[in-house]
């Protein structure tokens, strides 16, 4: 068990180190170097040289690489020349909003997927099960920016029930502003999860123990919650780990549609402003969060299921 955890941790550490290196090279592969991105392509060579000297970009690449690591370990992610602040000061509050949105959407998606999946497993090939299957495929393919704008059009513009975007100032206001973004982000994830979970539940419904339970006269509700759910829910954690990139990509687009000032929204605005230090810092953070999310999913999975012992 412990050997496995140490192994898994070291694999993630290597991936993290490679990720940091990768982002470093992505920044330095820019034509003309980062100075041109900051000053614009019409900058005079003198201005570029001065900025390069100031930022230490005239030093040899290996040295810059070590400095990049040293800064990261100090928690310094770079300096935004557009907003005139350390990027790490920006991140905190935006990251919190993103985590609220993403976790709310993930929780909703899991809850819906379990309910729908159990129903689908129970209905199997009957017409109801087929209809559920159809909507799963459609909603899974639905781009979040399309869903989001449709919801805004219906519930904000036409019905005027909910705000079309932004954040609230009171707790109730926050909640009201979160309803549409959470629904938007949860929809494709719930569709993906429930498709998988429904398949799993269907397999379980075919097992002998379900027939035995029915023969014993247990009600369907008890069979679903006490028998099928327990056995079908196990692979869910791995699935959550796999869905993390989908969650982040969906999050970036959802936050942009609803002008919800989270990390994804900041990434978008910074990209439009060509604020490359902020963009590269957020790219790095999303990569780190993805690797950590997968790590947590794997560890949880191995703790819950003793059969998973990695190769």
């Amino acid at each position: 068990m412990w050997a496995m955890i140490v192994r898994r941790l070291s694999v993630s550490a290597i991936s993290l180190a490679l990720l940091v290196t990768l982002v470093f090279f992505m920044i330095h592969a820019t034509p003309g170097g980062p100075a041109y991105s900051i000053l614009g392509s019409h900058a005079s060579p003198q201005a570029v040289a001065a900025l390069n000297r100031q930022m230490g970009l005239d030093r040899p690449l290996p040295e810059q690489y070590l400095i990049w690591w040293a800064h990261l370990l100090e928690g310094r992610l770079g300096y935004s020349y557009i907003q005139h602040v350390e990027v790490s000061h920006l991140i905190g509050v935006y990251l919190e909003r993103t985590l609220i949105l993403d976790l709310a959407a993930l929780g909703l998606a899991i809850a819906v997927a379990i309910g729908v999946g159990l129903l689908q497993g129970y209905l199997a090939e009957r017409i109801g099960g087929r209809i559920i299957g159809f909507f799963q495929i459609v909603f899974y393919a639905m781009p979040v920016f399309f869903t989001g704008i449709l919801l805004i059009y219906a519930f904000s513009m036409q019905l005027d029930w909910l705000p079309p975007g932004g954040v609230g100032h009171t707790l109730a206001g926050h909640a009201r502003h979160l309803v549409l973004p959470v629904l938007t982000l949860a929809l494709p994830i719930a569709a993906g999860f429930s498709r998988y979970f429904g398949h799993q539940a269907r397999e379980e419904y075919r097992q002998d123990y379900v027939r035995t339970a029915r023969a014993r006269g247990l009600c369907e509700w008890r069979i679903a919650t006490h028998h099928v759910l327990r056995n079908a829910v196990r692979p869910f954690i791995t699935l959550v780990g796999m869905m993390i990139p989908v969650l982040f990509v969906g999050g970036v687009l959802t936050e942009s549609v609803f002008n919800y000032p989270g990390l994804g929204w900041l990434l978008w605005r910074s990209a439009l402003d060509q604020d490359y230090p902020t963009v590269s810092a957020i790219t790095l953070i999303i990569g780190v969060l993805t690797i950590l999310g997968n790590l947590i999913a794997d560890l949880l999975n191995s703790m819950l299921d003793v059969r998973v012992r990695y190769e």
Binding site: S15, P31, M142, P143, I149, M157, V249, Y276, I291
Partner: protein
């Protein structure tokens, strides 16, 4: 020489449906998905020949007209025919994604085969590198590049190809590891076949079905990524229309109640992704049922 030439392209017959072991009729998912996608392709490339109104012609006295006989998809904020803009917009939306996924397919195939055929320690290093690459979602990477350099259609194709191959590379590598131990490959090795020969002659063939399936999903993925990027104003730049860009413009104008500027581009993107997912899923079912 005339006999050698066809053998060199011996994997080409696998392009036929037979590689997936079925008839078109037996595959409603694949057939219907493919039909919808071909309709969209025809809409984008044949449509402009039938409906010849320019997508750039501005009419200040015909702004925000709802769909009518003359303008079946209505007009936009500059009075341009929205049907024409949807047709022309389909070309970069679909074309860039299709060509980009071919680039991704070639890189992924090469990397996956190289990794699978390398000594175990090289394979391990290459796989760790893949983990790091896979931690960065395609859209996030594209936003990163869009922030640094302005992107045109050509650079979009190249970059989309460059960022979206790791998933395929991993699948190909796992397949190579599985096929490497098959009797016929081991037998060929016993006869003194070199690794390069094995890769070309036996493994490439074996990879073909799974690569086709994956390429289908990759095209769908890239359509979504490109649409998202253009929606954010970082992909295809106006006045050149693209479905994502049109949807982005439509959502900025949602306050005017012009539902057609949202519905049509959104549906086009949805249908393109949906149809390709159906094709991919149908092919995958077929492969796994084999």
């Amino acid at each position: 020489m005339s006999e050698a030439a066809p053998r060199r392209w011996g994997f080409l017959p696998l392009l036929r449906w037979g590689a997936f072991g079925g008839r078109w009729r037996a595959q409603p998912l694949v057939a219907s998905g493919l039909a919808v996608f071909l309709v969209l392709v025809a809409f984008a490339w044949l449509g402009p020949h039938l409906y010849t109104i320019s997508p750039y012609a501005i009419h200040p006295h015909r702004l925000f007209r709802p769909p009518s006989a003359r303008y079946p998809f209505g007009t936009d904020d500059l009075g341009r025919s929205f049907l024409a803009r949807m047709m022309y917009g389909g070309q970069p939306s679909l074309g860039v994604a299709i060509v980009g996924s071919v680039v991704a397919m070639l890189i992924g195939l090469g990397y996956g085969m190289a990794s699978g055929l390398s000594p175990p320690w090289v394979d391990k290093v290459l796989m760790r590198l893949l983990d790091a690459l896979l931690a960065l979602p395609t859209l996030v990477l594209m936003i990163f590049f869009a922030a640094i350099v302005p992107l045109g259609p050509l650079s979009l194709i190249v970059l989309l190809g460059l960022v979206s191959w790791p998933g395929l590379a991993r699948i190909v590598r796992n397949e190579v590891l599985a096929y490497k131990e098959r009797d016929y490959v081991l037998a060929a090795r016993q006869y003194g076949a070199r690794t390069a020969y094995l890769a070309r002659k036996h493994l490439l063939r074996a990879m073909f079905p799974i690569v086709v399936v994956n390429a289908t999903f990759t095209v769908a993925d890239l359509i979504l990524t490109l649409a998202g990027l253009s929606f954010l104003g970082l992909g295809i730049q106006p006045p050149t229309p693209s479905w994502g860009g049109l949807l982005g413009n439509g959502s900025n104008l949602a306050i005017t109640g012009s539902w057609w500027l949202i519905l049509f581009p959104g549906l086009a993107i949805l249908l393109a992704i949906l149809s390709l997912n159906l094709v991919g899923q149908g092919l995958l079912n077929r492969l796994e049922g084999r």
